[in-house]
Amino acid sequence: MLSSESKKVNLLAVLTTIAIIVATGMIFFYLPQMTGGSSEVLGESFKIFYIHLPIAFTSYLAFFIVFVAGIMYLRSSNKKWDILARSSAEVGIGFAFLVIATGSIWAKAVWGWYWIWEPRLTTSLVLLLVYLAYFMVRQSIDEPETRARLSSIFGIVGFAAVPLSFLSVRLWRSVHPLMFGESIYGGSGGGLEGPSLILTLLVNFIAFFMLFATLFVYKIQNEELKEQVNDLKQSME
């Protein structure tokens, strides 16, 4: 049984690798030259957007899973939800870091600085900090059930920081570019024109969701093994 399951996971990993390669290839070889809102030609640096946006959404998804799993744990006290929450948080932290890293690389090329203090950037940093604190909670409690309960609470409260991160670009005047929708100050998103751009973005979205899924599944398996080892250790004593 285990072998067929691990075969599936391996297949997923292979598919993810292919998807990432295709997605990255599309960014560099398939995309036509980009023009901005006032039809100036955007530099090569803009291509990072196709990675940046999917990663950002994936990190939100990861933290949404932490949030939901936290609620489910408090309702049911089932260890399975705790495993789900901590696996998702750990993978999510990686993605949240990548959001900031890719954003900074782009900012250096376009704004000239890696970092500026403005709401959107600050809130994505806060998002990362909140989930680092989540692991601080986990680390400082030894008793597994208390740990699961308290970290679920923190995951739920911490999720309140995520909507702010998402909405802030629309609430404050911000230098962070807005691609879709309209801000309340009347400036609307640049939007993406042309099917090839949308297709590239879509493929990247799929690739990064698959990457998340793969890492998530591996992490869950890992944590389940850890639980088994712990149980065995306890039965030995």
Binding site: V126, V130, S140, S152, A160, A161
Partner: protein
Amino acid sequence: MIQSLRIALKDLKSEFRTKQMLNSMLVFSLIVIVIFSISFGNLLNRSQIIGQLAPGVLWISFTFAGTLGLSRSFAAELENGCLDGLKLCSFNWNSIYIGKMLSSTILMITIELIIIPLFIVFFNFNIQGIHGLFIILVLGTIGYISVGTLLSALTVNIRTREILLPVLLLPLIIPILLPAVLATGKLFSGGNITDVFQEIRLLIVYDIIFFVIAQLVFEYAIQD
């Protein structure tokens, strides 16, 4: 509701009897402000720069003083098993949360009311929109305390709670600090209430969100 008022009254009564927490929070936030005032010494006559720095200083001092109070808020109840007593005697655990929140909020606002005049003196301010500032202070404090009280309860049984509380609290309250600092800055630079309407709205939204979430999860935080 009456239960939570009783808990708040009990807290305040024991606090004002010793004034232990009040004094240390007051002195602490005063010292923070004085240190900043000294380090900005030769900028004090340039009101443009001070106007941008001061709101942050003010909120830093309140935040740090607040963590002092919050770390004791539930830890004080551990002595002689008071927390267990509280859990036994009130019908609804949420009233413990509301009571604790009320007493901490009142304590914080008392400190803020003492600190603000001193702050104005140290940083050479004249504030026109003082009632606007009061609204921001109250809203900011409520949001801060509603998260802080929950985390204080959450960390109360953890060994390293004094270290852990600030680490957990500070990132979570940034959604509140951000609009509060921005609004305070606008008021210091001569704005009135209508200029900070956006921030007030955001503060209210976050106060409600955090208060409701804390209500929902509080009983899980103190069960054992």
